[in-house]
């Protein structure tokens, strides 16, 4: 039998964005206000990896950089079908912008050594930059396709993916080693079974720190010291003044008024 593919899935633990509160005084998220979950787009990335494993055989490794408690998300990833997980945690990784984050993740992938495919979610819901995937690809010196909406074929040498960019759908043959970032359209992630959850509790999750990566990376390029960007200020967006005319009784009058507005704007000519 052929050697199974080595697939790496990058995962971020994020606060549940619908529930999390923001502290304007400190400019920080109050992470205790909402439970932490796997970034929703990363669930699609993981599902894509697990489907490839089911189809042609693969070892799926989930990697996350974050605080110690991000281990919970990696256990969840194992319950959802990852074979292994690695947690990158160190105070020296903290305060990283996308460049330092990507460098750290790419260094961990280097440390693992060989791989065929890296899969990431198109973006995270908290940072919303969509930069980490492509930056990791650049640091690893491998090609990447972003915004993958469909995986058409996969074999030992490469993957055929469909991505929408500009005014077209592009079907692209990507040779391994490569990286893709996936959108929510790529699949519907499955829920872990109870048995998988129990199994995941027993999994050993190695923790890697900055020193452990020192043979493949420069430590000063991690975390805050390796981050060229910083948030200088945060504030609430100012609301624009609107006319705010409210109608609630005669709908006919309301419609008349709106028709005359549309006429003024030359929408109705």
């Amino acid at each position: 039998m052929n050697k199974p593919l080595d697939i790496i899935v990058l995962i971020k633990q994020v606060p549940d964005i619908e529930k999390v509160k923001f502290d304007f005084k400190t400019g920080r998220l109050d992470r205790s206000s909402a439970e932490a979950v796997i970034n929703p787009f990363d669930l699609n990335a993981l599902e894509a990896a697990v489907r490839i494993k089911e189809k042609i055989g693969a070892t799926v490794t989930a990697i996350s950089m974050g605080p110690k408690n991000a281990e919970a998300s990696l256990r969840d990833a194992i319950a959802r079908g990852a074979d292994k997980a690695i947690l990158l945690t160190d105070i020296r990784f903290a305060g990283a912008d996308t460049l330092a984050t990507s460098y750290t993740l790419a260094s961990a992938i280097r440390k693992i050594g060989s791989f065929d495919l890296v899969i990431c979610g198109e973006k995270t819901i908290d940072g919303d930059t969509a930069q980490v995937g492509p930056e990791v690809a650049e640091f690893l010196g491998i090609p990447h396709v972003a915004y993958v909406e469909e995986i058409r074929e996969v074999n030992k040498d490469g993957i055929l993916v469909k991505s929408k960019m500009g005014k077209h759908y592009y079907t692209i043959a990507l040779r391994f080693p490569g990286l893709i970032t996936v959108t929510k359209d790529v699949n519907t992630p499955r829920l872990p079974t109870l048995r998988d959850k129990i199994r995941s509790r027993k999994a050993k999750i190695p923790v890697w720190n900055a020193d452990f990566l020192s043979d493949v990376a420069e430590i000063n390029r991690f975390g805050i010291s390796g981050s060229p960007t910083n948030v200088a200020k945060v504030y609430a967006p100012c609301a624009e003044k609107r006319r705010s005319r409210i109608f609630h009784e005669d709908l006919g009058d309301a419609a008349e008024e709106i028709v005359s507005v549309l006429r003024e704007l030359s929408i109705i000519r």
Partner: protein
């Protein structure tokens, strides 16, 4: 040599320039004038020389033209390698790229190769007293705004489509078109095997958008909104729950995780107005909201609010608009 000048990535597809490139040229011109530096554009493609003058008309002082068959379609390796080389040679202080999918695929690779900072999806740009770039972007679903600064050079940012003003096209503007040598890369590990036109609604360019939210009872009821949109020459939008439920395709989604729109008229039907939705449409010229619930947040951002059932209000609107159209056609 110091870093100076502003560079803008001119995005083209099939020789057609993307509007966002004109928008960032508009903003770039303003910043360059304040800094007393030049505004340059980089254009990659094949047989796109005539487009280079368009960039001058829109504000560029110099256009670096990389014209080669290998650059006809977007290939992130070929594009990023050539751009990285140009940036190393020309050392811009600021480098702006449209936050389209192509831009957001390309910019991070260039930033990583240059080991410089990149700020995603800016909605405004400003300068501090020392002419450092202040990058303004929304964070946390648009609930807050953040100002980002970059220590390294060039200061790179992607800029959201439809938020910056386009400068008027001035065909008398003079600028230099500088033909650059293209590094030809045969093998990139990627190959386009099929390219098909995406037949999708373009919300970003629509003048009128009629959007539906959870007030809609079933997917078929989009027909009602479609009819209103049609009589106004507009298109249909939707809030995220309806897209997630599969009632309508993602290209119709308005909001933080969908499209940011800026039409002349936005009609929100049965949309309560979550911060995520408001983020995507609050810059519309005129906002009209129809909702049964008088406490719906959408009314706080509306110019005209109708408290009522959309199933009652929309048909009345359609009828009145049709009457009005008939009247103008008859020259009354």
């Amino acid at each position: 040599m110091d870093y100076r000048d502003i560079l803008v990535f001119a995005e083209q597809e099939d020789g057609e320039l993307h509007q966002v490139s004109f928008e960032i040229l508009g903003k770039g011109r303003e910043l360059a004038d304040r800094m007393g530096v030049q505004l340059n554009a980089v254009l990659l493609g094949w047989r796109v020389k005539d487009k280079a003058s368009e960039l001058v008309y829109r504000g560029a002082d110099n256009v670096f033209l990389l014209d080669h068959p290998s650059l006809r379609d977007f290939d992130v390796i070929r594009y990023s390698r050539n751009i990285v080389k140009l940036v190393k040679e020309t050392r811009p202080d600021i480098f702006l790229i449209g936050a389209t999918r192509i831009g957001r695929t390309l910019a991070p690779r260039v930033a990583a190769a240059l080991r410089t900072g990149l700020t995603a999806d800016c909605i405004d740009l400003d300068l501090d007293e020392d002419a450092n770039l202040i990058q303004i972007r929304p964070a946390f679903s648009g609930n807050i705004m953040a100002q980002i600064r970059t220590k390294t050079r060039p200061q790179m940012a992607t800029v959201r489509y439809k938020v910056m003003r386009i400068r008027e096209r001035d065909t008398r503007r003079k600028g230099k078109i500088i033909k650059m040598e293209v590094e030809v890369i045969d093998e990139t590990g990627m190959k386009i095997v099929e390219k098909t036109r995406a037949d999708e609604v373009n919300l970003a360019e629509a003048e009128v958008i009629v959007s539906g939210g959870r007030g809609l009872k079933k997917p078929e009821d989009f027909k009602l909104l479609q009819e209103l949109a049609e009589v106004l020459g507009g298109v249909v939008g939707a809030s995220r729950p309806l897209v997630d439920a599969g009632w309508i395709s993602k290209d119709h989604q308005v909001g933080f995780s969908g499209n940011t729109v800026k039409p002349k008229v936005y009609i929100a039907c049965g949309i309560s107005g979550s911060p995520q939705h408001l983020f995507g449409m609050r810059d519309s010229d005129i906002i009209i909201a129809i909702n049964k619930d008088p406490t719906a947040p959408i009314f706080n951002v509306s110019d005209y609010g109708i408290i009522g059932d959309l199933y009652e209000v929309v048909p009345i609107l359609i009828r009145k608009i049709k009457n009005e159209l008939r009247r103008s056609k008859n020259g009354e």
